[in-house]
Amino acid sequence: MTAERLPAAQTPDEEETLPGRRGGLDFLGTLTIAWRAILGSPLRSVLTALGVIIGVAAVIALTAIGSGSTAGITKSLESLGTNLLTVQSGAPRFGGGGLVRGGPQQTITMKDVEAIGTFAPNRIAGVAPSSQSNVQAKVGSSNLQATVIGTWPAYETVRNSPVATGSFFTQDDVDGRKRVAVVGYQIVTDLFDGQDPVGQKIRLGNVSFTIVGTLPDKGNTGFGNPNAQVLVPLSTFQQRLSRGARSGTSVTVSNVYVQATDKDDLTNLQNDLTDLLARQHRIEDASSYDFNVQNQADALASLNATTQTLTLLVGAIAGISLVVGGIGIMNIMLVSVTERTREIGVRKALGAKPRDILTQFLVEASLLSVGGGLVGLALGVGCAYLGTLVNITPVFSPATILVAFAFSALVGIFFGYYPASRAARLDPVDSLRYE
C-alpha cells in the first residue's frame, strides 16, 4: 500500500537529541487538551458550569442593582437639602424613618418656630417651617391635584429647591400675606403647555395666586411627586388654604426644616433643638416627647447599614451558590474521570506523568469554572440592566466583579483537585484494562 514511503532507516540505539524532549507537556498543550474535552461534550460542560454561571450572575446582578438603588436613594436624600434637620410632630422613632409624613397630630407651633429661629443664629443657616395640603390647581378649564406647601423663602436654600424661571417669593410676600406661588414642573407642562407661566394666574382651591417662579424637573422619583408641588408663603397658606391647624391657641405647622451651618455640628444641633423643644413643650421625660428632630445623616447612615446587611446577604448567597456550583463541577468531573479511565490509561502508556494528568483535569475544571464565571458575568450585567425597567440604574463595582470572578476560578481549582488527583493516581495497567 505505502511501503515506498516508510521511514528512513533508524539505528535503534541512536541517542535521541530532540528539542524540548525533557521539557514535558507545555501549558498550551494542556490548555488545548482541556479545551477539546470541554468542546467534546458542550451540553455537559454547560450543565457542569451552570452552578457557577448562576452564582456569578446572581452576585453581579444583585450587587449592581443594590448599589444602584442605594445610590439613587442617597442622591434623592441629598437632593432634599444638605446639613438638614427636620423637626416633626410625633414621638421620635429610631432607625431613621424620617421619611414618613402625616400621622400624629401637629404639635409644632409658630412659637416653636420662632424659638428655633432665635436659638443660635450663627449655627443655623436657615429655617423653613412648612405646612402642606393637597389642593386642586386650576388654570382655565384644566386642573390637577397639587401639593401646596406653605413655607418661608429660606426653603429655597434649606431644601435645595432653587427656581428654574422667575424668582422665589420674598420675606415681604410672607409679611404681606401675598397670593404668590412658585409652581412645580408638572404644573408648567400640564396646565401651561410648557410655556413659562411667570406672571400668570393660577387657582389653588378657591384662591387665585400669581405665579412668580417655576421649579425645575425633579423627576418623578423619590417620595410623592415633587413636580406637582406649589410653594406659597406660609402666612398666606395659613390664612387662606389650611383649616387652621392649631395646638391650644397656637397655629401649628407640619414640620420645620433647619439647615445647620456646619456639617459637623449637625448631631449637636439636633440634640440642642431637641432640648429646646422639650423646654418649649414643658416635657421632661424623653419617652413622652410629642415631637422629634430627624437628622439627614441618620437616615443616610441607616440606609448604609441596611445596604451593608444586604451586601453581606448577597455575598453569602453568592458564596453558597458558588460552593454548590463547585460541588457540581466536582461531581461531573468525577464522572468524567471514571468515563475517561481508558483515555487516562492510554495517555499514561504514551508517556503522561501523573502531574500531566492532574494538570489536565485541573485546567479543565478551571476552564469550566472560569468560562462559567465569564458567562455568569455577562448574564449578571444583562440582568442588572433589567433594573432600569424599574428606574434603578445599576452600579457595577470592579472589585465585586473581580472577586466574583477570582472566586469562581478558585472554586474550579478547589473542587477540581480531588477528581484530578484521582485521575492522576490511576494505575495505567488497570485503566487500560478498564471497560
Binding site: 521511514p7 524540548g20 525533557r22 508517556g351 506523568k353 500531566d356
Partner: protein, 236 residues
C-alpha cells in the same frame, strides 16, 4: 552486550486479588537484541500481557531485574517510568485505543505532546508518520470514521512518532480480519527492516510466522525460544 535492547532476569509477577495471590510470571529470562522482531506466543492466560506490561514499564516485576537499553529500569520512579515509556517504547494495543475525541493527527501527536515538542514540529512529525502508514489524507478524520485496519495503522504511527527503540504490540491483529492482519504484519516487517525492534504478542500461529524468532510462554515460564525463516511480508 551493548546491543541488547532489553534483558529480563528471573522476572516474577504475583498479582494480589483480595487475599488471593496469583503468580502470573514465575521466573522469566529474556534477551532481545536491537533490530530483532520476535513473537511472544502462548495460550490465553499464560502471562503474555503481563510480560508485555513489564517490558513496557507499565507495571513492575515482583522479583527479578530488567535492563532496558543497558540501563537497570527495575526500580525507576513513576515519573521516570513515564518518561522512559515516552522516549523508548511505542505501544500498539489489540483494541487500538485511539482517543475518540481527537482526530487522527492529534492522536499521533499525543506522545510528542508529552515529550514537550513544540506544536509546529509536533504537527509536522505526526503528519509525516501518518503519511508513512498511508493515512495522511485522513489526518482530520475522527477515529470513528475509519476502519479497524486503518485505526491500527494510526496506532502504529502514534507508537512510532516519538522514535522509540522498542515497539510493543499486544495482539495487534486480534480485532482484525485475516487480510487486514496481513497488512499490519507487513507494516511491522517493514518497520523492523528499517531498524525498529519489534515484540509482538500473539496466540495465532499465522502471525508468528512473520517473525524470525518465536518465544513460547506457558504458565508464566518461557517454554521455548526458537528461530526460523519468516514468511515474507504481504503487500497489498
Amino acid at each position: 552486550m551493548s546491543d541488547l535492547v532489553l534483558s529480563l532476569r528471573a522476572v516474577e509477577k504475583t498479582y494480589l486479588t483480595g487475599d488471593v495471590e496469583f503468580q502470573a510470571l514465575r521466573g522469566v529470562d529474556l534477551d532481545v537484541r536491537a533490530g530483532e522482531m520476535l513473537a511472544l506466543m502462548g495460550p490465553s492466560g499464560s502471562g503474555k500481557t503481563t510480560l508485555m506490561q513489564i517490558i513496557g514499564l507499565l507495571d513492575r516485576p515482583t522479583e527479578g531485574t530488567y535492563l532496558l537499553g543497558g540501563r537497570d529500569v527495575t526500580d525507576l520512579t513513576e515519573n521516570e517510568r513515564a518518561e522512559a515509556r515516552n522516549r523508548e517504547i511505542g505501544f500498539v494495543f489489540q483494541a487500538f485505543h485511539l482517543l475518540p475525541r481527537l482526530d487522527l493527527l492529534e492522536n499521533v501527536e499525543v506522545p510528542l505532546t508529552y515529550a514537550g515538542i513544540p506544536a509546529y514540529e509536533r504537527r509536522e512529525r505526526a503528519l509525516e508518520m501518518l503519511d508513512r502508514v498511508g493515512l495522511a489524507s485522513k489526518a482530520r478524520n475522527l477515529p470513528s470514521q475509519i476502519s479497524g485496519g486503518q485505526k491500527q495503522r494510526v496506532a502504529v504511527a502514534r507508537a512510532l512518532a516519538g522514535r522509540p527503540r522498542l515497539l510493543l504490540a499486544d495482539e495487534p491483529t486480534g480485532n482484525l480480519d485475516t487480510r487486514t492482519s496481513e497488512e499490519i504484519m507487513a507494516l511491522f516487517t517493514e518497520l523492523n527492516g528499517e531498524g525498529t525492534t519489534v515484540v509482538i504478542v500473539t496466540h495465532e500461529p499465522d502471525i508468528a510466522e512473520y517473525t524470525r524468532r518465536v518465544v513460547r510462554v506457558r504458565d508464566g515460564l518461557v517454554e521455548s525460544d526458537t528461530t526460523h525463516t519468516p514468511r515474507a511480508g504481504v503487500r497489498t
